[in-house]
Symmetry: C2
């Protein structure tokens, strides 16, 4: 099973922090709950990222948020005064696009993708040369009517070879109905889910996540999607191959046991660090559970590593 048998170590001293950092040359960070909470940067985030860069570490940012493209993410980092390039960022939308191109072998310029989701997915597909339909097309904001929907007027588009579904806060019956028609059209239309997260935290609330929408589509279509985000191996394989990494020298840093820690442990990365600034508690970090592994290390906040080493 995925549960690690050794007791998680809480990093509480300078020596532990330095020993922790020395083991890895690459750190993969989840973003929300680790670096920031929504629009609020967590203390010492900038300082620890700069320090790791000074130490010559490679930094990679891995998020299951498919609503923003990697380019849009660089702007979010920049708004916090953190300079990160697009090639350091991996989103579940980007991982889905890579999966469509490299694993499903769809052809840019020929095959099209139907999107149930927000801007981040279509933008990543476009940079690879794929034409996509659906997604943020405002004609989908209109109430569904089978006789007038512009997406049905001339029949379904035969060039659509895949449906990618993720979080869509503009979910409506029109989007659900047309997505279903593509999945029912033929089994040869692939079904990809950006990420399995059933909820996500926002402003102190727990809101419906990508997984809850993908499961609705899975139920109506009677089909199962291939999921691409954490903890799925598709996401890690994309990163390892793009950045030419040695797994044993990588550490995954995140705030969720069932995605981030599972991702690091099942991906056989050298280490995992759980931060308690997001949704998990110390009690949960130490608890042995069949559903997800325990972290190798844990700490209250990522910034504590900066404080301990300075």
């Amino acid at each position: 099973m995925t549960s690690s048998t050794t007791e998680p170590i809480k990093i509480t001293s300078k020596e532990q922090a330095e020993w922790f950092l020395n083991q890895y040359d690459t750190f993969l960070f989840d973003c929300d709950g680790v670096l920031w909470l929504g629009t609020h940067l967590l203390p010492r985030t900038k300082e620890i990222l700069n320090y790791l860069t000074e130490l010559g570490k490679k930094l990679i940012f891995v998020t299951n948020n498919s609503t923003k493209s990697r380019l849009t993410y660089t702007k979010k980092f920049a708004s916090f005064g953190i300079n990160v390039t697009e090639d350091q960022i991996f989103t579940s939308g980007y991982a889905s696009a890579v999966y469509v191109r490299d694993f499903l072998k769809l052809q840019p310029g020929k095959d099209k993708i139907w999107i149930f989701g927000e801007a981040g997915i279509g933008e990543e597909l476009a940079t690879m040369g794929f034409e996509s339909l659906g997604g943020i097309d405002t004609r989908l904001d209109e109430p569904f009517d089978a006789t007038t929907s512009p997406f049905l007027q001339n029949g379904l588009d035969d060039d659509v070879k895949c449906v990618i579904a993720g979080l869509d806060t503009k979910v409506n019956y029109h989007r659900l109905a047309i997505t279903l028609q593509y999945l029912r059209k033929t089994e040869s239309v692939h079904f990809v889910g950006t990420n399995v997260d059933s909820t996500f935290p926002q402003k102190g609330m727990i809101l419906p996540g990508a997984g809850s929408m993908v499961e609705s589509i899975a139920t109506s279509s009677g089909r199962r999607p291939s999921y691409c985000g954490k903890p799925n191996a598709n996401m890690l394989n994309t990163i390892i191959s793009a950045k030419n990494l040695e797994r044993s020298k990588c550490c995954m840093v995140g705030d969720r046991l069932n995605t981030d820690m599972k991702f690091g442990v099942e991906g056989k990365l050298g280490g995992t660090l759980l931060v308690l600034s997001g949704i998990e508690t110390e009690e949960r970090a130490l608890e042995i559970n069949e559903a997800y592994p325990r972290p190798k290390y844990y700490i209250d906040t990522l910034g504590d590593i900066f404080d301990l080493t300075h």
Copy 2:
């Protein structure tokens, strides 16, 4: 298992038709696919219903459609020139309301119900004296914003003791998000699903059904609903008790194996008749399958019984 072992009998002669009718004093009919297809009445529907009434049979109409109340259904029957009273009609919305009142023992005038669904549910609750929230409230048509939603401004309503979820073609993030807040509030808020159907046919298309929406909410909340419509026993118990029926003298007539036929067989009704005017084929009617039972009888259309006996 639910699979019946005897071969389904196709009714093809006057003798068979008369023998079939003589066995039962009550006929329970599914509506769409049996009596009509959408807004198009099937041939001889009026004639066979009149004939059964002349023979002294009790007629009951059982639909998993929760979007219309029983009163609204009487108007649909009237539009086809068929005179049916409200007490002959059982919808999954009505069954859900009965379940809330009689099984969950919620108190009209005191306990409230949050609705994810269309008008039929709230109207049935209102006739029982229950106050409901959500549903067709047009303020839910506005985009979701946690800081401005009128459903969150003064906190959640502590009098809400149950969520009923069903088909809602006005599904949006606002409705999904507030429904989730009530289900997360406390386990003591009950979770009822009107019906499990993942899709339904309309104008030659297969569209997302109640089950696909309820499963989305089940995924985000991590909770399982109690389903009330066919084939669930809640629906049949409501009917049997309201109409004081003897199960062995009842025959279920429907167009779906996995809801109507399962409903009749698991409910231990005397007979089941599958009509092939809806979504099933003769091949499927005869096939032995673990997931649903075979009918006792089948026929191309309900109207054929009239033709055979006249």
